[in-house]
């Protein structure tokens, strides 16, 4: 029974995982571009995230088809409605990674290389959160989802710290205020990426418990 439906739900999981992997790779590449002053890497990140728009549409389309044809209830309904919500978060993550890449391009053209170390750490953590949030969803793993929610505090703390450091730097060295502000914007994008990962984790929890 329901072989086709189960197979399609698995495919939906695979598509979401692929999209999350793309997001995570883009975040990695964009961080790399920041620290290595690598224009090619920044361009590659923008290229990667551009495919995420199509992925979003494909996943939404699959979800609509499943709602229409299978009229899902209970855990199937929760899985499909959660997928429809979290795909938007994934797409936003892609947008934010692309925004960071664009700033990175500007920075490297200006010859700025000294990226605050905490931004690198934020980026690693945000990428990890995205990956874990999706695996919490596909594995129906509430514990991992809660871990993602908890990681968000660390990213928030790092953001506050980066902000403080950069404000000090602006005060000390007005000539580099431009790049400091760019770094704050980047840190803010990373902090938003972590928030989207939290949303995804919360949909993963909803998927198991039905609690919004």
């Amino acid at each position: 029974m329901r072989k086709t439906f189960d197979a399609e739900l698995l495919e939906l999981n695979e598509e979401l995982t692929a999209m999350a992997r793309t997001a995570q790779d883009a975040i990695d590449v964009v961080t790399e571009s920041l620290s290595s002053d690598d224009e090619a890497a920044a361009k590659a990140a923008i290229e990667m995230t551009s495919s995420m728009d199509q992925m979003e549409r494909d996943i939404e389309n699959r979800c609509l088809q499943l709602l229409l044809r299978q009229q899902p209830v209970a855990r199937d309904l929760r899985a499909i409605s959660a997928a429809m919500k979290m795909v938007t978060d994934l797409q936003r993550i892609g947008d934010q990674a692309a925004n960071i890449a664009e700033i990175s391009l500007l920075l490297s053209r200006q010859g700025v290389v000294k990226v605050p170390q905490d931004i690198g750490i934020m980026s690693c953590k945000a990428g990890l959160m995205v990956k874990q949030a999706i695996s919490a969803y596909t594995g129906r793993d509430v514990e991992t989802a809660h871990a993602v929610v908890n990681l968000d505090d660390e990213v928030d703390d790092l953001f506050s710290q980066v902000k403080r450091e950069l404000i000090e730097e602006v005060a000390e060295n007005k000539d580099e205020a431009d790049s400091s502000i760019d770094f704050i914007i980047i840190a803010k994008y990373l902090e938003r990426i972590a928030d989207h990962a939290v949303n995804i984790a919360q949909w993963a929890i909803f998927c198991v418990t039905g609690e919004l």
């Binding site: 029974m1 439906f5 209830v73 209970a74 199937d76």
Partner: protein, 255 residues
């Protein structure tokens, strides 16, 4: 159950055997007033049997044994002093296949009231019109009340049967897969009718159509092998069922 929901029917420890085969096992349920309660479950799970116990239709089955309690508005319905005709006036039944009597539309509706002693023509006319309006079929048949009810379409016949049930002013309406033999348009007419009727009646339906249960019922009861597995608000049952067996059934992982 919410405190504001008054139970109209309460079953406690209800058990039923057809000969040696047990069809209902220790069923406890409160059916709330002026709500639609849907009974779901695979074929042979006991849902229709349960529905029939509510107006004592199972009394007619040879070899049937019933234990436990079914109360209708506090009255034990299997108690010897209960008049079954009275009970079936209070609790009407609509069946899966439309079964109008082979007589005119008018006489189909007037049949019940006449049995209960109403002879006055004006009074009967009034009941016929009110019942047909109540079943959302008056406009379609008002000009041919003397025509045979068998000349109507299946969907119209079913609404005439509902009107016939309404004519004796019941309190509770039982429907055993009342739309499963109908096309989608007739089905949606009857579903809308059920939505309207629940303002005045307590309704219990048996359905194999999960979407129908989600569309029109307030409460839902899932039966399996004669047992009431889960009973609760329909929205909750179809989004976060409590029991794994309910989940497996409604998502089609069963069987």
């Amino acid at each position: 159950m919410d405190t504001h929901e008054t139970p109209v029917i309460t079953a406690k420890g209800l058990e039923l055997w057809y000969g040696s085969a047990q069809a209902l096992r220790n069923v406890d349920i409160d059916i709330p007033e002026r709500k639609v309660t849907a009974l779901i479950g695979p074929s042979g799970c006991g849902k229709s049997t349960f529905l029939k116990t509510l107006d004592r239709m199972n009394d007619l089955v040879p070899g049937v044994t019933i234990k436990g309690s079914v109360r209708y508005r506090g009255q034990e319905i299997y108690s010897p002093e209960v008049d079954v005709t009275w009970l079936r006036k209070q609790i009407g039944m609509v069946f899966q296949k439309p079964n109008p009597f082979p007589m005119s539309i008018y006489d189909n509706i007037a049949y019940g009231p006449r049995t209960h002693g109403i002879r006055n023509k004006a009074k009967l006319d009034e009941i016929v019109e009110k019942s047909l309006r109540g079943a959302a079929i008056w406009d379609e048949v008002k000009d041919r009340l003397r025509k045979s009810a068998l000349s109507l379409s299946g969907g119209q016949q079913q609404r005439v049967c509902i009107a016939r049930a309404l004519a004796v002013e019941p309190d509770v309406l039982l429907m055993d897969e009342a739309t499963s033999a109908l096309d989608p348009i007739s089905t949606s007419k009857i579903e809308e009718l059920i939505e309207d009727l629940k303002n005045s009646y307590t309704i219990v339906i048996v359905t194999h159509n999960m979407q129908q249960a989600t569309r029109i019922s307030d409460k839902c009861a899932f039966f399996l092998l004669g047992e009431l597995i889960e009973y609760g608000d329909t929205d909750q049952m179809f989004s976060v069922p409590r029991d794994r067996r309910t989940e497996d059934y409604i998502t089609g992982r069963f069987g």
